[in-house]
Structures are given as structure tokens and as C-alpha cells.
């Protein structure tokens, strides 16, 4: 136990308020990152965090917003503790605000433990290698960009694209083959509308998963700064459920773009040197401190798999938010507006998608031996077909060779039959079966990415014989 003073000091020395920050003068014995309680003249209490300390000043960010804070009667009390969130197994099925207070009208939880929301970096040596194949029932994911337990796989969406439907479908269908294990979903909403939030709630309710879900809600009209704490609170709860209660936790974070905007707001208020598009230079590190909390730990049964959702402003994948996310996460699922307009559902654009951990989760005993080869072949052929589409737009279809026409047809069928699936829940065998059907549209010698013995074994023509 650390020793703590028996008395508390309160300061009434606020001299400056700027956006989400307040500046308190002449404070003594303050530590970096500690939690601050702010009492307004009206008696309302708010929570903040120390961001910066100097001889004279302490800079405090206020989670619930700064309106109403004055420089006369507002009192500031330093608690000496880092921001914590109360955690408990009973949080399943409950709804909380962005910092962990009950929001569903029920009582606050009785905590089993109180944990630091910033978490600790996991030593790579203590990590366990993610190897369990998660069957999401989506061909574009299972077949081409396999998700494994402990992975962080974001969905890059654009405004108006059905990323939420996709995430809900994954949460609904995801299972590890041959294992009946207890799972939980931790859902962190950051700056999304009530409509989007209720979509998720209804979907979980409809499928009966609601009792296994912990909701953290920071909606669009809630204070921006609370958003910075929301994913961290959610992940602390997820870690507790995974590593103490041995659950396999799926964390859905939506929408990370809103989170980054909150980060930018604080950075600007602190008058920091801005990086690209005004986002702070440390955004990579900050995002990493969220995403890197996915994984498995040696000797623990539970795991944390993350599916963050983010909106690419103007569908630009080079925007700092998707760009930095892509550098940290283990792949990405990218949605495409053209496909959406053409009625492909889900509109997953296979080409820029990637799952870095795919090889750990596929192969004999996990999915099927030909999986890697088939995925590579689909990619290569589809990419070629897409190139041809551009060519056709210029020179017309007549100018193409017979082979190229087949590729063109392949690309259309690939989108129509493989990617597009609606609400269907396909198992991996079905997905691979469709793949082979599609590949058989092409001449056999074009299948250079597939080993000869696999062609002999799985190609529909050879199978019939």
C-alpha cells in the first residue's frame, strides 16, 4: 500500500480555461496523469486528468466539458491516483457512459477491482502466438483475410457505408470451430449517433447476445474529451474479463475517426506543434496504446480480439487516421463505395484488404491445405480482372483476347458470388467451394499460384472424374 495523506487540499486557483483544458496555478505535489475532481459553483462534480505540470501551472483536461467552470469559485482536488475504472463480471449486459458510470438507469456496479485505464504494454515474450482460426461466416474474410483470435483487424469504412452491419454480422457469426467456449463482446461507441448505437443494441438483442455484451456509450452529443477515455475504459474491462474470467472477448470500437478528432482537439488546446492535417505528432503512439492491447497472454485462457471501425474522410485511405491505424493493426478490411452502389453486400473491396495473421490461422487441421494457394490465386486473378475493366472502358470489350474476356467475367462473378453474400452464414468449406467454382472458369494452366497436387485434388473437373 502506498501511503496517502489524511487530508485533502483543494485549490481555487484556476486562472485560465481553454477549450477542454483548465489551468490551475500554484499547485503543489501533483503527479503527471493523476485524476482530478473538479467541483463547480453549482455543486456539480466533474472528473479530469493532469496533462502537464510546471513550477506554477498544472494543465487539466476535463472529461465532461468545461462549460460553467469559473475562475472564482470552482474548486480543484487532486486525488493522487491515475484514472481508474471499476470492473466486475456483472458488467455484462449493462450500459455505461464513456468513463464507466452506469447509463442504463441501473445502479452503479459493485466493483471486484479497480484498474488503471491506461493499461500496461505487454512484453512480446509474455504474449502467446495467435493461432485459432475464427470463422466469421463471411467469404471475403474467412477465405481471403482470415481473422484469428487475438488479432486486431479494423474495418475502414466511408460515410454512408454499412460498416456497422458488417461488424454486427461478424460479432453474431464469429466462432472458433470445434470449440464451445464462453465469449463476451465489449462495445465502445465514440461519438456515434444514437441511431447507430441503437442499431447495435437491437441487433444484439435480436440474437440474444445482449446479456454477453458490455456497452460503453459516448454518443455524438456527449462531451468530446470523454471520448479519449472511452476505448481505454472498454479495453480495461475487456482485459479483466479475458485474463481474470477467462472469456474470449471481442472488442468493437467505433468510430476511431471521432476518437482521433477528440485527440486533435486536446492537442490544439494545448498549443502543440501539429503534424499532418492538424493531428498531433504522437497520434501513432496514442493509437498504438489502444490497438496493441489486443492479443493473448501465455498461461491465460482468455483472449482479446479487436475490430475497430473507422470512417475514412472522403474515402481517402491515405488520411492520417486510416494510415496510422493500418501501420499498427494486423491488416484491414476496406469497404468500397462503387461496390456498394453496384449492390455488392457487404461491399468489401478485396484488393486493399489484408490480414497479416492469416497464415497462422489457416492450413491443414485449421481450415484446409489449399487455403493459402486458393486465396493467392483469387487475388491475382481478381486484380488482373479489375485492371482489364479499366482497359475495357477505353478500348472496348472487342479488343480483348479470349483469355482476357474470361478474366473479366471472373472478376464480375467473384464480386457477385464470392464477396456478396448478404446475411448468409457460410462455413469455410462453402467459401472454398465457391472459390474453386470460380477458379474453374479460368484455364487450368492459368492457376499458377496453386500447387499441382491441390489442383488435382480440389479442382471441380478432377473431382468429377
Amino acid at each position: 500500500m502506498t501511503s496517502r495523506a489524511l487530508f485533502t487540499k483543494e485549490y481555487k486557483t484556476i486562472n485560465y480555461v481553454s477549450g477542454p483544458l483548465i489551468f490551475a496555478e500554484n499547485v503543489k505535489g501533483v503527479s503527471f496523469g493523476e485524476t482530478v475532481k473538479i467541483t463547480l459553483p453549482t455543486g456539480e462534480e466533474r472528473t479530469g486528468q493532469v496533462l502537464d505540470i510546471s513550477q506554477e501551472l498544472a494543465v487539466i483536461q476535463v472529461f465532461e466539458g468545461t462549460s460553467g467552470i469559473d475562475n472564482l469559485d470552482t474548486r480543484v482536488r487532486f486525488t493522487g491516483e491515475p484514472p481508474k475504472v471499476n470492473v466486475s463480471f456483472d458488467m455484462l449486459g449493462r450500459v455505461f457512459d464513456g468513463v464507466g458510470n452506469a447509463r442504463d438507469g441501473g445502479p452503479n456496479i459493485i466493483s471486484e477491482e479497480s484498474v488503471d485505464i491506461t493499461g500496461m504494454p505487454i512484453n512480446p515474450y509474455a504474449r502467446d502466438k495467435p493461432t485459432d482460426f475464427i470463422q466469421t461466416g463471411m467469404s471475403a474474410i474467412d477465405g481471403l483475410n482470415t481473422l484469428v483470435r487475438g488479432q486486431k483487424l479494423p474495418i475502414f469504412s466511408g460515410s454512408g457505408l454499412p460498416a456497422n452491419r458488417l461488424a454486427a454480422q461478424i460479432a453474431r457469426q464469429a466462432k472458433v470451430l470445434g470449440a464451445e467456449e464462453s465469449f463476451a463482446v465489449v462495445f465502445a461507441a465514440m461519438g456515434i449517433t444514437f441511431k447507430e448505437a441503437s442499431f447495435f443494441m437491437n441487433d444484439f438483442e435480436r440474437t440474444g447476445a445482449l446479456a454477453r455484451v458490455v456497452f460503453f456509450m459516448n454518443l455524438a452529443d456527449d462531451p468530446t474529451i470523454e471520448r479519449v477515455a472511452t476505448p481505454r475504459c472498454a479495453l480495461s474491462v475487456a482485459e479483466y474479463l479475458a485474463y481474470v474470467h477467462n472469456l474470449h472477448v471481442l472488442v468493437i470500437l467505433t468510430d476511431m475517426t471521432n476518437y482521433c478528432e477528440a485527440l486533435r482537439e486536446i492537442s490544439t488546446a494545448r498549443e502543440e506543434v501539429p503534424g499532418r492535417r492538424g493531428y498531433p505528432g504522437y497520434m501513432y503512439t496514442d493509437l498504438a496504446s489502444i490497438y496493441e492491447r489486443a492479443g493473448r497472454i501465455k498461461g491465460k485462457k482468455g483472449s482479446i480480439t479487436q475490430i475497430p471501425i473507422l470512417t475514412m474522410p472522403d474515402d481517402d485511405i491515405t488520411h492520417p487516421v486510416p494510415d496510422l491505424t493500418g501501420y499498427i493493426t494486423e491488416g484491414q478490411i476496406v469497404l468500397n463505395r462503387d461496390l456498394y452502389r453496384r449492390g455488392v453486400d457487404p461491399p468489401i473491396d478485396a484488393l486493399p484488404c489484408l490480414s497479416r495473421l492469416m497464415n497462422l490461422g489457416i492450413g491443414p487441421d485449421k481450415t484446409r491445405e489449399d487455403h493459402r494457394n486458393v486465396a493467392d490465386q483469387l487475388y491475382a486473378s481478381y486484380a488482373y480482372g479489375r485492371d482489364l475493366r479499366r482497359l475495357v472502358a477505353i478500348v472496348g470489350e472487342e479488343a480483348l483476347t479470349e483469355l482476357d474476356k474470361k478474366y473479366l467475367e471472373f472478376a464480375d462473378e467473384f464480386e457477385g458470388r464470392f464477396i456478396s453474400q448478404g446475411d448468409e452464414d457460410r462455413d469455410i468449406e462453402t467459401s472454398l467451394g465457391i472459390s474453386w467454382d470460380l477458379l474453374s472458369m479460368l484455364p487450368e494452366e492459368e492457376l499458377k499460384r496453386i500447387r499441382l497436387d491441390y489442383i488435382q485434388k480440389y479442382h471441380p473437373i478432377h473431382k468429377e472424374r
Binding site: I122, V273, A288, E292, P320, L400
Partner: protein, 356 residues
């Protein structure tokens, strides 16, 4: 240096190099990268055997792990820690390969610390001394005669990955690294999208050491290595020009000879340049095999060019069974079988001519 946007295969390239590098010591710096990737190396390397000593690969590897959520100051230090360790082994007379994945994270750590120190920012918020620091790091590579008794020659080779934001190579770290690095392997997003790995763009990339290793190749591989290489580059460059025309008028408008070039470069791209890091035979392609693969492809090319010149049908040539065998060369681990293909090419073209 290896620059590339996310998903272009920087880490896989670095890890593959760490596996197969012909050195006694490998220092792998995970600088601000993913924890799971580090774990992957940690669990995989003890199970792999060093191709020369047959010892577990981990015995010759030092891993420095600063994952992206670890403190920034440690990230700045991790690069120096790694290179200092490498120098220690170099001074013992070993050849050391140092993989830095990724130097961009290191540069960003410099930027962050510099920002906190309230220094005047240079380009894109990076400190003005970024170029100096980068140069000072890369110049620690090299081959040295060590001081002291019993004569030793040691070396350090640095392979630095660079992660340019948005895949834009004009940003400060890529540009400053270009000035000091001797080899540039540009990873290309569009190649990665079609799963052409390693996604090294053959047109943009270069090596300044081509001339200095020319003699080595002559002595150790073959006297005509350089010619083959130049000829391949010529064909690939020609392909880029032809592709531009195809974009405008379609492939049918090209004369037969140029169509042949497009088909040949397709073979070079798909059957030679493309390699799978996850396939047993294909992950490591010995120089001898590389040489013969290229030789076979270019022999095929010559035969096709000759036959097309005589008015032969390109379509017929492309349907030759030997073409499919060329495509399967990668899976072959027997170099003799690849050598035999040259004879087979000659035979099949002779019979083709006889038919006509």
C-alpha cells in the same frame, strides 16, 4: 532501405532477410512495431535452423523489442542500442546484419521528443537535425579492419524499413534516407494489392553496388550474369512503355513482336520476380537456381523472338507445354531439372518449325 506503405510487406521482407542472411549475427530491432509480430519471431526462430550451421536460428539472433505502445524515449534509444550491439560483434570480426523495422517510428520518436523540448520544427514537424541523425546512423554500417592483434575483418549491413505516411515517398524520412542508403527497394502498393510479393517495384528500385559486386558474380555464379540482368531490365523497361500504348489503343493493335515482349515480361514477373515467403522451396532461392531460372526464361524469350521474326504464330508458342514447366520452376528444388529445360525449349521450337 525498404520503404513502403502499410501492407506492402516490409516486415515480411525484413524477417525473411533475417532468416536467410549470409551472416554470423543478426540484430533485429522491432522499433515501434506490432507486439504480435515480435512474438511471431520469438516463437518461430527457435524452430528454424540456420542454413549454414544447422543451429536454431535464434542462437545467432538478437531481438530488440520496442512495441508501438512502449515509451517513446525507449524507441529513440532502441536503434542506438541495436547498432551498438552490432558494432560489438563486428569488432570481434563477425559479419552482422542489422534489420531496423521501422526507422520511421524512430524518426517520429525524435519528432515527439523534439516537440516536447519545444525545439523549432523543420519539415513536417521533424527536428532540423533529422538528416544528420539518420546519416550518422546509416554511416555506422560498413566493412572494417578491426584494431588490435590477430587480424579480423568485420562488417555491419543495415537494412532499414521506412513507413512513409500514406505511402508518399516525398516525406522527410524517406528522402533523407535515400541520400545515405546504397540500395533502394521501393515496395509498391499496387503490386501488393495483386499479391505480387515481394512487392519490390523493379523500375523504381536501384542498387549502387551493382558494379562493385560484378566481379564477385563473375567468379561465383557465371560470367554472363550481368548481361542477363541488363537484358531483363531492358525488357521490363520496354514493358512499361508498351503498357502505356496498350492503355490507349488496346493490346490487339500491337505488332506481333511487341506482343511477344509483353508475354515474356509477364513470365519474368510471375515466374521469376514473384516469390512466396511461406513456401518451403520458394522462400529461399539459391543464386545458382536464380541464375538458371533467368537463363531459361531468356532462352525462351530468344527462341520466341526468333520464331516471331520468321513469322511464327505467337499463340502457338505460348501453348507449348514447356511454358507451363517454366511456370513451375519455382517449386523445383533440383537445379539440374531447370538446366534441362533449355534443351527442351530448343527441341520444342524445332518441332514447331518442322510443323510449319
Amino acid at each position: 532501405m525498404i520503404p513502403g506503405g502499410f501492407g506492402t510487406g516490409k516486415t515480411v521482407s525484413e524477417q525473411t532477410l533475417a532468416k536467410w542472411a549470409d551472416t554470423q549475427i543478426v540484430v533485429y530491432i522491432g522499433c515501434g512495431e506490432r507486439g504480435n509480430e515480435m512474438t511471431d519471431v520469438l516463437t518461430e526462430f527457435p524452430t528454424l535452423a540456420d542454413p549454414r550451421t544447422k543451429q536454431p536460428l535464434i542462437h545467432r539472433t538478437i531481438l530488440i523489442a520496442n512495441t508501438s505502445n512502449m515509451p517513446v524515449a525507449a524507441r529513440e534509444a532502441s536503434i542506438y542500442t541495436g547498432i551498438t550491439m552490432a558494432e560489438y560483434y563486428r569488432d570481434m570480426g563477425y559479419d552482422v546484419a542489422l534489420m531496423a523495422d521501422s526507422t520511421s517510428r524512430w524518426g517520429e520518436a525524435l519528432r515527439e521528443v523534439s516537440g516536447r523540448l519545444e525545439e523549432m520544427p523543420g519539415e513536417e514537424g521533424y527536428p532540423a537535425y533529422l538528416a544528420t541523425r539518420l546519416a550518422a546512423f546509416y554511416e555506422r554500417a560498413g566493412r572494417v579492419v578491426c584494431l588490435g592483434s590477430n587480424e579480423r575483418i568485420g562488417s555491419i549491413t543495415i537494412v532499414g524499413a521506412v513507413s512513409p505516411p500514406g505511402g508518399d515517398f516525398s516525406e522527410p524520412i524517406t528522402q533523407n534516407t535515400l541520400r545515405v542508403a546504397g540500395t533502394f527497394w521501393a515496395l509498391d502498393t499496387s503490386l501488393a494489392y495483386r499479391r505480387h510479393f515481394p512487392a519490390v517495384n523493379w523500375i523504381k528500385s536501384y542498387s549502387l553496388y551493382l558494379d562493385s559486386i560484378k566481379d564477385w558474380f563473375k567468379d561465383n555464379v557465371s560470367h554472363d550474369w550481368r548481361e542477363l540482368r541488363d537484358k531483363t531490365m531492358f525488357l521490363l523497361q520496354k514493358e512499361v512503355e508498351l503498357q502505356e500504348i496498350v492503355q490507349l489503343v488496346g493490346p490487339d493493335a500491337l505488332p506481333e513482336g511487341e506482343k511477344a515482349i509483353l508475354e515474356m515480361t509477364r513470365i519474368i514477373r510471375e515466374d521469376f520476380l514473384q516469390q512466396s515467403a511461406f513456401d518451403e522451396n520458394d522462400s529461399f532461392c539459391p543464386l545458382e537456381k536464380q541464375y538458371w531460372m533467368l537463363k531459361v526464361i531468356l532462352t525462351f524469350n530468344d527462341a520466341v523472338t526468333r520464331a516471331v521474326g520468321k513469322g511464327g504464330s505467337l499463340k502457338q508458342m505460348l501453348n507449348l507445354p514447356v511454358k507451363a514447366e517454366i511456370a513451375r520452376m519455382k517449386e523445383q528444388d533440383d537445379v539440374e531439372a531447370i538446366k534441362n529445360l533449355i534443351g527442351e525449349i530448343d527441341r520444342s521450337f524445332e518441332s514447331l518449325e518442322a510443323e510449319v
